[in-house]
């Protein structure tokens, strides 16, 4: 009895090649710990607690006087907006002649567990805005918020509308009841009070779990197979390691802020209903009367477009633009697509509405 298994020799060849690539990998690629994610040079112009305000250096001529302040998300660090010279959101904005500042929320420790929306919005953000207004001798800034930074930017603008010239919201978390993502599903069933009372800050391990179930086979398996397949493609692996390092750099979220965020946005959905309260003041989205530019991505599996888009209809301004892009949450801010489509549109929009 003889049985013959016919296998394409190319499969064996490919298998052996991947094995060789795995062995070669350490010789070809730097370890995540060995690389720095800092890209575009900046100065730390203001700091408060763990928060830092970064002012990016540029050799390009400024085309507008109104500075752009970017409020990064609460999850992971700001580096994704400046991850690679060819995919950098910050560098693109600088190249378009804008003066760019960014808030780095830092890494909160147990000591920061009582920081809430009031501290983030009315202290950190407001002090950063005041600093920039003073530095740039202008009356208003343009404010951009990405992801949960979009929630903070929305709340800030509703409470301090007189300081904001233009509001840019990139995949903002606004209407939790309409969010169809796994993140929203888990957030709605979470005993957030118990979590904060027992462990204080929201630990990064919990976020890693949430990330791991977003696209478990594509992100947990296939991504690494592709990495080893492409190990000789210098640009590919360099970008891969940088993004991986960014993904694994998840600071905890201050307990009170996390509690307020989950309750107000996901569980009780108060923000979009103009019922959210910050330091005794109601966050009325109708106060947002300046130009608003909202960017959403159809393939966003972290913040679904249905969750972000309601802000476009909730604000009182007549000058509002909604752009829906055929990409994902990170693709919208750090990809060749964002460089070609998203950023030129935003730069143009900002320049038309900024002080010259």
């Amino acid at each position: 009895m003889e049985s013959e298994l016919k296998i394409d020799p190319r499969i064996i060849e490919e298998f052996l090649q991947i094995n060789k690539n795995i062995l070669d990998a350490p010789k070809l690629v730097a370890a995540p710990d060995e690389i720095s994610l800092e890209m575009t040079p900046y100065d730390v112009v203001y700091s408060e607690g763990k928060m830092r305000l970064l002012h990016f250096n540029s050799d390009k001529q400024k085309q507008v006087r109104t500075p752009l302040l970017i409020a990064y998300a609460l999850i992971n660090r700001y580096h994704i907006l400046d991850i690679h010279p060819q995919k950098s959101w910050v560098r693109n904005m600088l190249d378009q002649g804008l003066d760019v500042y960014m808030i780095d929320w830092g890494t909160p420790t147990k000591m920061d567990r009582y920081l809430g929306f009031d501290d983030y919005v009315n202290s950190y953000m407001d002090n950063c805005v005041d600093f920039i207004l003073n530095e740039s001798s202008v009356e208003k800034v343009s404010l951009q918020g990405y992801c949960t930074g979009g929630t903070l930017a929305t709340v800030y603008t509703a409470l301090h509308p007189n300081k904001i010239k233009n509001l840019v919201l990139t995949a903002p978390v606004i209407d939790g009841s309409k969010d169809s993502t796994v993140v929203a599903n888990l957030a709605k069933h979470m005993d957030v009070d118990k979590m904060v009372d027992v462990i204080g800050n929201m630990p990064p391990e919990f976020m890693y779990y949430v990330f791991s179930i977003l696209k478990p086979f594509e992100q947990g398996l296939e991504k690494y197979v592709q990495f080893f397949k492409n190990i000789h493609n210098k640009e590919y692996v360099e970008n891969f390691i940088r993004v991986e390092k960014w993904l694994s750099d998840t600071p905890p979220i201050p307990g009170e802020l996390f509690r307020e965020w989950v309750k107000n946005v996901y569980q009780e959905n108060l923000l979009i209903r103009n019922q959210m309260n910050v330091a005794g003041k109601v966050v009325d989205l109708k106060n947002i009367s300046m130009p608003v530019f909202t960017q959403v991505a159809v393939g966003d599996h972290l913040v679904s477009p249905e969750c972000s888009m309601p802000i476009h209809y909730a604000v009182s301004t007549e000058d509002k633009t909604l752009r829906i892009y055929a990409t994902g949450h990170v693709g919208m801010i750090a990809s060749s697509f964002s460089q070609k489509r998203v950023l030129p549109e935003l730069g143009q929009w900002l320049k038309e509405r900024s002080e010259k």
């Binding site: 298994l5 016919k6 296998i7 190319r10 499969i11 147990k110 599903n185 118990k194 027992v198 179930i213």
Partner: protein
């Protein structure tokens, strides 16, 4: 169903054990005029008193473990059932694994797509989120008892407990806010005075 019944039985027996344990600890303590107080002085006397509380926490940890195990089993059951369903669907779509490289690549793509769809549907479901939420909640209960035990130990050693440190953090947070507010008022006053 069988699991739920056995989990209920487990809870009942632990509850009974807790009751019996506390009953005899208390009664023996009363009957013997608190023998630990005779044997211990100073901080050790405090530990003698706290030992009973540690015992109670340990029993409650066992009670919570029953809930956690039930939720964890359900969690793995949901994952396993979904895996089996996805595999069945894959077998239906690809009855035979191809042996040439082009078809193998497209087969892998089909496998990933099917599994991704099935698992995303699971993670999006209220049943998964509800069980996961309760599992995390029971984990937090375990953590809470563990914190309580550590706090009792710290208290016995005359060191600050987690609760006391949290109070300090809160106090510090409020102080920082007050200082920031005062600084703002002072700076407005300062510029108004032309300083």
């Amino acid at each position: 169903m069988y699991f739920m019944a056995s989990s209920e039985d487990y809870k009942k027996s632990i509850g009974y054990y807790k009751h019996v344990s506390l009953f005899w600890t208390d009664l023996l303590s009363l009957m013997s005029s608190r023998p630990h107080s005779l044997l211990s002085t100073g901080p050790l006397r405090k530990f003698g008193v706290n030992a009973k509380k540690v015992n109670t926490e340990m029993i409650e940890i066992n009670q919570e473990l029953a809930e956690f195990n039930a939720r964890l089993s359900e969690y793995y059951k949901q994952l396993t059932d979904t895996w089996n369903e996805a595999q069945k669907q894959f077998n239906k779509k690809v009855p035979e694994i191809p042996t040439d490289t082009e078809h193998l690549d497209s087969t892998k793509r089909i496998w990933i797509d099917i599994f991704e769809n099935y698992f995303t549907r699971l993670f999006d479901s209220p049943e998964f989120a509800e069980n996961f939420g309760k599992m995390v909640s029971s984990e937090l209960e375990l953590a809470k008892h563990w914190n309580n035990i550590i706090s009792l130990m710290m208290e016995s050693a005359n060191m600050p407990t987690k609760k006391e440190i949290d109070e300090l953090y809160k106090e510090l947070h409020l102080l920082r806010k007050r200082v920031a507010k005062l600084e703002k008022i002072a700076s407005i006053g300062g510029s108004a005075n032309g300083k």
